[in-house]
Amino acid sequence: MPGKLKAKIVAGRHLPVMDRASDLTDAFVEVKFGNTTFKTDVYPKSLNPQWNSEWFKFEVDDEDLQDEPLQITVLDHDTYSANDAIGKVYIDIDPLLCTEAASVISGWFPIYDTIHGIRGEINVLVKVELFNDLNRFRQSSCGVKFFCTTSIPRGYRAATVHGFVEELVVNEDPEYQWIDRIRTPRASNEARQRLISLMSGELQRKIGLKVLEMGGNAVVGYLQCFDLEGESGLVVRAIGTACSLEKLSSGSILNTHTHPNTAPASNACNSPSKDGKEPVFGEDLPSSSGPPTPFRALPTSSSSPPPPFSPSKPCSRQSSSSDTDLSLTPKTGMGSGGSAGKEAGPLKTLLRQQTQTALEQRQEFPFFTLTSFPSAFLLHVGGVVNARSVKLLDRIHNPDEPETRDAWWEEIRQEIKSHAKALGCHAVVGYSESTSICEEVCILSASGTAAILNHRYMREGCLDIGSTDHRFEEPSPPTCGFCHIPYDELNMPFPAQLTYCYHCRRQKVPDVLFTTIDLPAEAAVTGKGCHIQARLCRLKKKAQGEVNATAISNLLPFMEYELHTQLMNKLKLRSMNALFGLRIQISVGENMLLGLASATGVYLTALPAPGGIQIAGKTPGDPSNEQHILTIQKRINDAIAKNKELYQINPPELTEEGVGSPIPEPRQRSRLFRSHSESSDELSELDLSHGKKDAFVLEIDDTDAVEDIHSLLTDANPPIGFYSCNTETMPGIYNWTSGIQMFTSVRILRLSNTNLTNQGLNKIFTDLCENLLKSFYFKLRSMVPCCLCHLNFTVAVPEEELIQVAVTAVAMTFDKDQTQEKLAEKLIPKGGSDTDEQLQFPLELCADSSNSQPSSKISGVPESTNISSRAASVDYGSFADRCSTWLELLRLKAHTIRRGSVKTSRRTQSLAHSVSSLEHSSPLPEGRSRSLRSSRSFGGSSVTVVKMTPLSFLPGTRIIKYLGIINMFFIRETTSLREEGGVSGFLHSFIAEVFAMVRAHVAALGGNAVVSYSMQDCVLMENPNKNQAQCLINVSGDAVICVRESDQDSLASTTTIGHSCSSTTDVTT
């Protein structure tokens, strides 16, 4: 008997009128857990009943406690007929099973009915008494903490990061069971809600068990998804990163003695570098012209897409071919379609031969769902790796054996792992998985960022990522280290332009960098970032079964390629050189595929400046065409110049002599492609004269290219005062004020025109996304200056001819005046959001980091470079050799699908250094005045205000406690769609209801905010002719208690003010 669950029903309010005669309700409550049910007395004739019941006690296994929700049903007593249900409340009691989380659930919960929505509220008290269970074969995993947050939660220190955990459970969907034909929609919906609640409970418990096995105590970056496979079943799957977290007590934040070997190591780093600082530049430079040589032999290679992409592209292409192969000879009993990565076979053997790092020995997949890391953790980033595979769904025959789905994901993960290897990386960070289902076809996708983690700490299994103390030296310069290539430059996995790091001048960096993670806190950035989106529609013939699957998998590589080209062009148009938070979604519909790639572009100081975009005509000599090209070129150049100004991208330039030119001759080459007109030459010369000599040539040879250019130029920049990004925070903006507004917006477009072309569709889709953004800016105009953060677009094709886009984001205000001054000084506020010490002692740390950080930037940073490069080459250089044949293959494939019209060429480089950042050091008083201001803006209310944000923090506040994970699934159905204001009215109220229920649960746990909130699913089905609609929404997040950061601040500052006052009075008297 390991647990006792106690529940008490206190009261109800705002109940609906259930008895028309009296305009009142005779309400009572059923409390159910597992198979035990208790009832309260009937409270007659009231819309605000006061039951004040006894404590209902359930004696249950802790396994059940984890799986089952407490189910509270409010009913109207009827003497003569059956009692009418008013609605239900499901309470997840998981947060009570953790000693550190909530201790009691108490509060008003909305009473929810799947047909009528929220119908009044009920006040409930829930407690759990857990008994110690020493059974080692136990099935429960009580006490394992779950976090949706994709970074180490505030107030915790990660003693060990154990790695990837995943699990999936399958079941039959109640909606598709035979009984569904005879039961009411309400019963069916409730069965579904309950089942999913049970399944996610079970899933969480199983993941918890895995974590316990690994020796961890928490899951960070927990991501749970539902696959509604229709007839074939229901899949609930989750991934996360197992960690051993230690709670930081406010007193002892940093235990230096836990890392006895870090201090000597840092010393070792420091000593050799001090003397070799300047000379190294000189020595290294001559050799820099060497590496690119192999690429000159391959002229087309200069047009290569950036590193991250290319490996995945050929693979998805490969997957399509293998798909057809496999589907002809189905090897599994399920008869499902083939899988991605035929090369997975040879690769697996390849992998086995490799010397395994400590990390790999510990676990199969060195994946991390985290997107932001403390500086010591992330050494190098290779680029984005992703893999997709098209599958045919089949009925899940035995729910207890989810092997097929497991195998599918296993394949994809293997592929991801092999891509990471190809990039010379041993780990994948910012990892996520998703699916898109249409009828029986399912696209499985996984993506992440190949990276090299600080395995020195990994091996020890003792990784302190809770602290970023500067005495604790990183082996690689934090401002640019992660940009340095992890792969061997002689055997590059893809063709890329390498140059010496513009920041430290020691290591090679690629010309562009794509990642799925957040911008590392300490990265040196020039200017501000911006949200970049590539959108694409591709028509597809309607088909069934394997033919359909084949068609889709044939389209995938082209889509990925085009999305990538768009991203590249848009990035260049904004004069930026790196993407963070890249998320590529491909959604499948009956007659089309939708692709949406979102990311946040930034100018990384360490990377070379991007070149402009040059337009080249295919038919030189045609004067009208010439003119056309000229005007387009001019528009593009203007746009680039405008963007530079807008995003304040003015990298300080060094003289060209200081930098070697790796490719001396491209000047001529680019001329070849350019049209003969001298004036156009001058134009581009003018534009490129900023020292960015790397021009990206777009050749207008077909309508596609024209479309590309148009779409490039139609993207509107956000209005003045607005910024947007899809990462946690906007690179370049640091001084957030406390104003936040989280929102969800959904838009569905019906395509009435049946004979649409790809171009037409693209236009429609692009306009849809652009208009959504415009709407957001307009709606939130009162918050200016503000930034839309974590803009998360989700596309779907719910029906033929329908395109659905759902967006969840948060608008955060920032102080405009301070932005200008504190531009370069990023470590103070960013660190504040990342490290625990700062949260504990905001004042102290402000002073601390403003003093210590800039100095480490100049002196401390480049010193350690040698060490890191050595480490990297030792571990991964040999491996890269072995992969070279495989990589060669990849490269060839990459070329075959590449359009010949895209060319990149490089002329010279200029050295950009962020010395300027020193000039604007943080004046401490500013921070203080800011916090004072924010403290004033807070207000009270009778209902607890619960803030929600998709970010892992709330600006201006400090999270003092995590109360547990919120993971809720709701179904809403209506048979009176018109009366509810049509489909918009229906969804509007449903989303509002979901928010309300999330807030109520958080408030009942004692919390006042939800961080890392996300809406995983929003599936809407409608039938306006029948006046019906149904919608499913799944949301998750972390319930927290946060307090104003300025509480201590303002206290401190008021005392200082008091002091200064008294001192002045002293003077006057």
């Binding site: 309010r13 705002h14 008003w108 909305p110 929220i118 509220e121 509107a716 209005p719 607005f722 507004q741 989280m742 929102f743 969800t744 917006s745 959904v746 838009r747 569905i748 477009l749 019906r750 395509l751 009435s752 025109n753 429609i764 208009n771 415009k774 709407s775 957001f776 800016y777 307009f778 709606k779 939130l780 105009r781 329908l802 659905q804 207000g939 009270g940 209310s941 009778s942 209902v943 205000v945 619960v946 803030k947 929600m948 204001g981 489909v983 918009s984 009215g985 969804l987 509007h988 109220s989 989303i991 509002a992 209801e993 928010f995 309300a996 807030r999 109520a1000 809407l1020």
Partner: protein, 364 residues
Amino acid sequence: MSVELDVFVGNTTIMDEEVYQLWLDGYTVTDAVKVRMEGGVLDECEANADVVLSDTMDQYRTFHMCERLLHSPAKLANQLLYQITPHRQTILIERYYAFDDGFVREVLGKKLSKGTKKDLDDISAKTGVTLKSCRRQFDNFKRVFKVVEELKGPLVENIRHHFLLSDKLAKDYAAIVFFANNRFETGKRKLQYLTFQDFAFCAGQLINNWTVGAVAGPDSFVDNMVEDMDVDLDKEFLQELKELKILITDKDLLDQHKSLVCTALRGKTKTFNEMEANFKNLSRGLVNIAAKLTNTKDVRDFFIDLVEKFIEPCRSDRWTAADMKLYLTHYTNSVHILDTFKHQIVWDRYMGVIKSCIFKMYHD
């Protein structure tokens, strides 16, 4: 190609005050968009017509969904569905219960029944207030009326407490309820020159001085709990008013009263001659109004009587507001010197209200 669905939901409900006003004023979405665009909203944030339309529809939907809560404003504060800042809640409620003076002037004193509601389209046409807005305002009156009808205690306080309105608005609603309950005639042509605020002021005077609650005073808790204490006039008081008739029936008293007033006024006003000549007429008018108030019918005609019997004669004699003030002050105070007159308290209670009502009503 058409937008099938378009929603935007904020964790904190976003409400644009301008759009809210347009919604309250009964504009259709199309008209509201037109008004907004003409108002220059397009200049903000590089918006276009689609964006404004989408935003307006969204806001209208939000308001429509919130309307249910606004019907019982107390719920707005402790409902969970919409997270609205307290400040914003106050604005929402206050604006929702605000009304057009033009409209309220039309229904003031009318029975808040279905019959009146049917006439709303005429009122709409006459006042230029959209029918939708008329309906909302009318329903608000009716709702407040119904709720306070069943409540005990002071009227204004009840309205303020139940509908969370500002003091000013609560007083206006109290006036509306008071007028509707006593069915005061306000629609006659002769009363057209009076604004709602004139009537609201008078209603306040009546509520504070002539009702049951007025006598009880705020200190006596038990009496506070009398039903309709602020809505119905004090019957006892009305009965006592009959006693004032002696001022005009007793010739000595009347003459004495006249001479006292005239002595006091002489030389202080240009219209002295007219005052002296009209004294008996005017005094008869005011006392007769007092004496007749026991009849419900005459209560209804209270304002028309005041205008016909007192205000109009004075106006035709071109009294200034200062003259009026002077006259009424001396007219009231002189009675205290009349030894044989025993109803000083009733007289003061009566004249206090009459005096301030006439002051308020005496304008063009």
